[in-house]
Amino acid sequence: MSTQTVETATFSDELLKFIETWKDKRGNIIMIMHRIQQEFGFLPWDAMAHMAKLIDVPLAKIYGVATFYHYFKLEKPGRNKVAVCMGTACYLKGARDLIDELSNLLDVGVDETTEDGEFTVESVRCVGCCGLAPVVMVGDEVYGKIGPDGLPEILAKHRSAATEGA
């Protein structure tokens, strides 16, 4: 279980307002969790506990929902999300090789984050750019028709961008 926590005081006003408007709507849990993940990049344990109090729902239920859906992350992700599309078209055109090469280059497996917190590698379902297969996304940027050879350059680009920004 995740031990990563967050100060409940860090819920932004917008987030609190969002929760307020959704509080009495039916079936609000998933929508509120999306909003929390948007704020923190993942679902910190404390944030879920705080949410449970705010909308008066058992924490167990929130945790149950959080673990069911792939989209919700319980661990803090790296600064850059490297998502390899594993849709069928990309698979046929060599997405598996891209994953292998990424684990080679970064020394992490799928759904793991590098030690320096720079990159999290993910395999995702069809991002819908089958015409560009195989596709890798770093953050919001899409790189299409790339082979394992092209990966070091892409990683370098985002690595330096992140350090410069820091």
């Binding site: 819908g128 750019c129 015409g131 899409v142 299409g144």
Partner: protein, 130 residues
């Protein structure tokens, strides 16, 4: 815009239709449609759109309308754009990078000639004739 009544909706529909049709036959108007679906954007449609804005400005072309639409379905040729203008056949261009935009503005719009190797065709004519 306040809420519409039935009559207002019909009136708006007629007016807008006229406006769109007028644009088609108006000699002065050049219409550029950039296809902005997810696959288009992934292939660089945002840069393409910006390049059109810049190029048209640079040449002082003021009678051009740039519109965006959803995907045409030509994923293998994204980013795709469509140009309507008097004196040229309606044309769809594919693989339109900013460099190609420069060429399209220079050749298609100014010199009225097609740009080699980037002309694509509509996947199908609409059966729903207007």
């Amino acid at each position: 815009m306040a809420k519409m009544t039935l009559e207002e909706l019909r009136k708006l529909r007629d007016e807008k239709r006229l406006e769109l049709n007028r644009r088609k036959v108006d000699e002065k108007t050049i219409e550029v449609i950039v296809s902005m679906g997810t696959s288009g954007i992934a292939a660089g449609a945002k840069e393409t759109l910006q390049a059109f804005i810049d190029e048209l400005n640079q040449h002082g072309i003021t009678n051009a309308v740039i519109r965006q639409s959803g995907s045409l379905g030509l994923d293998h040729a994204e980013p795709t754009i469509e140009i309507h203008m008097k004196g040229m056949p309606d044309t769809i261009y594919g693989s339109v990078t900013p460099a190609v935009v420069t060429e399209i503005v220079d050749r298609h719009i100014l010199k009225k000639e097609l740009v080699d190797k980037h002309v694509f065709d509509r996947p199908a004519p609409d059966i729903i004739k207007e």
